[in-house]
C-alpha cells in the first residue's frame, strides 16, 4: 500500500489541466468511476474523461496492442502486471482501493447458510469464482486459511455471474466481494466472516507511458487517490488502500 496522503487537493495550486483523458477501467468500477469522472470534470473545467470499461484482462490485452489510453485502473494486480511487463507506465502502479470477500445468499437465506463451514456441504448448491479471476484466488486463500474444502457446483468467470445465480436463487450461497453485495441491493444478503480480512484484493491504477495527455492522466490518478476519490469508493464499500 503506497500512501500519498499529502497530495494537494486538485485544482488548488497545481498547474491548470485541460483536455481529454481516456481511462481504461475494470467493469466492476463502472459506477464509482463514472461518478469520479464527473467529479473530476467539475473540479477541473476544460477536462473531459472518456471511459472504456471492460474486463481487466481484456483491457490489458487492448493496452498491449497499443490502445490509445492515458490511465489504466485494474481490478487485479495481475492484469496490471501484464501491462507493465510490455508497456511502460510513467509512475509505478498504486493501489487506490481494496476489497474483501463476503458470503452472499439469496434473500431470506433459503439454504440456511450460516458461515464458511456450510460451503463444504455437498448438499448445498454453492457458487464460487474461478481460481483464475481475483475473487476466486481470494476465495481459495480464505478456504485454505479456514481449512475448509468447499464443494462448489460451479466456478464462475466473474462476480456478477455469481451474483446473478445468487439473486435468482440458483445457488444457496457464494463468495463474492463486499462491494458487489452492496451494489446488488436487497435481492442478496451479505454475511461477513472473519477470514475475509486475510485475503484482500488490491485495485491498482497507473498512468500510461506514451499517453496522449500525460498531465491530465496524472491529475486524474491523483484525484482518484485523493480524499474525494476515497470517499466515493468508500461509499461503494471499498476499503481504503
Amino acid at each position: 500500500g503506497q500512501q500519498t496522503g499529502s497530495t494537494p487537493a486538485p485544482g488548488s495550486g497545481a498547474p491548470e489541466v485541460t483536455g481529454n483523458v481516456t481511462v481504461f477501467a475494470a467493469a466492476s468500477l463502472t459506477e464509482t468511476f463514472t461518478q469520479l469522472g464527473e467529479d473530476f470534470e467539475a473540479a477541473n473545467p476544460g477536462t473531459k474523461v472518456r471511459f472504456n470499461f471492460g474486463g481487466s484482462s481484456a483491457l490489458a490485452q487492448q493496452l498491449n496492442q497499443g490502445a490509445p489510453a492515458d490511465v489504466f485502473a485494474s481490478a487485479a494486480p495481475a492484469n496490471m502486471k501484464q501491462v507493465t511487463d510490455t508497456r511502460t507506465v510513467t509512475d509505478a502502479p498504486r493501489t487506490f482501493a481494496k476489497n474483501r470477500l463476503a458470503i452472499a445468499v439469496p434473500k431470506g437465506n433459503p439454504g440456511r447458510i450460516a458461515g464458511l463451514a456450510d460451503f463444504a456441504d455437498a448438499g448445498k448448491k454453492i457458487a464460487l469464482c474461478a481460481e483464475q479471476v481475483p475473487c476466486g484466488a481470494a476465495s481459495k486463500k480464505v478456504f485454505e486459511l479456514a481449512k475448509i474444502t468447499p464443494q462448489p457446483d460451479t466456478l464462475e468467470q466473474d462476480v456478477k455471474a455469481v451474483l446473478t445465480k445468487v439473486s435468482l436463487g440458483e445457488v444457496d450461497g457464494a463468495l463474492v466481494y463486499r462491494t458487489d453485495v452492496k451494489a446488488t441491493g436487497d435481492k442478496v444478503e451479505g454475511i461477513e466472516f472473519a477470514e475475509s480480512a486475510q485475503a484482500v484484493n488490491d485495485y491498482p491504477i497507473a498512468p500510461l507511458a506514451k499517453a496522449p495527455n500525460a498531465a491530465v492522466a496524472k491529475a486524474f490518478v491523483d484525484f482518484v487517490l485523493s480524499g474525494e476519490g476515497r470517499a466515493v469508493l468508500g461509499a461503494a464499500g471499498f476499503d481504503g488502500p
Binding site: A27, T30, F51, N52, F53, G54, A58, Q61, Q65
Partner: protein, 265 residues
C-alpha cells in the same frame, strides 16, 4: 359461399416438434418479459441508451451491408467456381463462428490493431486506425457475422438449378450479369435468410466488439455493451435494456415484408 379449406391436416409428427421448438425459443423470452421490471424503464430511457440503440442499429446494418458485399461473392466462389480445396475453404470460413468472440477480437487486434500486422501500416501510411472507433465496431461485427451470410447463401446456391445460369449464358449474359440477374434473384430467399442471421448476430455481438473496438459511449458502446455494463451495476436495468433491444429487432425483422423473403411465384 366461401370455401376456405386447408389442404389436408398438418402432420402431427411435424407440428409437434415444430411447436416444441417454438416453445423452446419463446418461453425463455416470455419469462424474460414477465420478470422485466418495467417500472424502471422510464428512468433508463436516457439519451445514452438512445445513443447506444442508434449505434447498434447503424453498426449492425453497416456490418450487414459489408457482409453482403463481400460474403455473397465469396459464397458464389465456394458454390460455383469449382476451385480445388473448396471443402477446406468452406470450413475455414466458419472459423469466426467457433472462435470465442473475445479471441476473435484479439485476432482482429493482432492484425488490425495499431501494432497489428496490417494495422501498423494502415496507421503509418494512411493514418487510419480502426480499433476504438465506430468503424472498428462495424469491422468486428462483420467479422463475427459474415460466416452466417456466406454459409446460408452458399447453401442456397448449391440447391439452385445451375441450368438457368446456362440458359443465361446462351443469351449472351456474362458471368457477372448472369449472377446479378439470374442467380441472385433465384436464391434471394437464401440471401435474405443469411442477411437476417447476419444482422441479428451483429446486433447482439459483444465479445469481439468490446475487445477490438472498446467501450466508449457514443462511439463504440452498442446495446450489448450497455447491457454488459448495466449488468455490473443494475441487473434489472440490464434485462430491461436487452428487452428493448430485442423488441426493436423483432420489430425490424417482422417489418420485412413476406415479399422480400418469398421465392418466385
Amino acid at each position: 359461399m366461401t370455401r376456405n379449406r386447408v389442404r389436408g391436416r398438418l402432420p402431427v409428427v411435424l407440428v409437434l416438434p415444430a411447436v416444441a421448438g417454438l416453445a423452446f425459443l419463446l418461453v425463455p423470452l416470455a419469462g424474460l418479459l414477465v420478470k422485466t421490471p418495467w417500472t424502471s424503464l422510464p428512468t433508463l430511457l436516457s439519451a445514452e441508451v438512445g445513443e447506444a440503440l442508434r449505434l447498434s442499429l447503424i453498426c449492425a446494418s453497416l456490418a450487414t451491408v459489408l457482409c453482403l458485399v463481400l460474403g455473397i461473392p465469396l459464397a458464389w466462389l465456394l458454390a460455383r467456381s469449382g476451385l480445388p480445396g473448396r471443402g477446406f475453404l468452406r470450413a475455414l470460413v466458419t472459423v469466426p463462428l467457433v472462435l470465442p468472440p473475445v479471441v476473435g477480437g484479439v485476432a482482429l487486434l493482432l492484425v488490425l490493431g495499431r501494432r497489428g500486422l496490417i494495422g501498423e501500416h494502415l496507421d503509418a501510411w494512411f493514418g487510419i486506425s480502426l480499433p476504438f472507433t465506430t468503424a472498428g465496431v462495424v469491422v468486428a461485427e462483420a467479422f463475427v457475422a459474415m460466416p452466417f451470410l456466406v454459409i446460408s447463401v452458399e447453401g442456397a446456391l448449391r440447391a439452385a438449378d445451375p441450368r438457368y445460369e446456362e440458359a443465361a449464358a446462351t443469351l449472351g449474359a456474362s458471368k457477372w450479369v448472369t449472377f446479378r440477374r439470374v442467380t441472385l434473384p433465384s436464391v434471394l430467399p437464401g440471401v435474405v435468410a443469411g442477411a437476417v442471421l447476419c444482422w441479428a448476430r451483429a446486433l447482439g455481438e459483444f465479445g469481439a466488439t468490446i475487445t477490438f473496438a472498446g467501450n466508449f459511449p457514443g462511439e463504440t458502446t452498442t446495446m450489448p455493451l450497455a447491457v454488459y455494463l448495466a449488468l455490473e451495476t443494475d441487473p434489472d436495468a440490464a434485462i430491461v435494456l436487452s428487452v428493448v433491444l430485442l423488441l426493436v429487432s423483432v420489430g425490424v425483422l417482422a417489418g420485412l415484408r413476406d415479399r422480400w423473403i418469398s421465392g418466385p411465384t
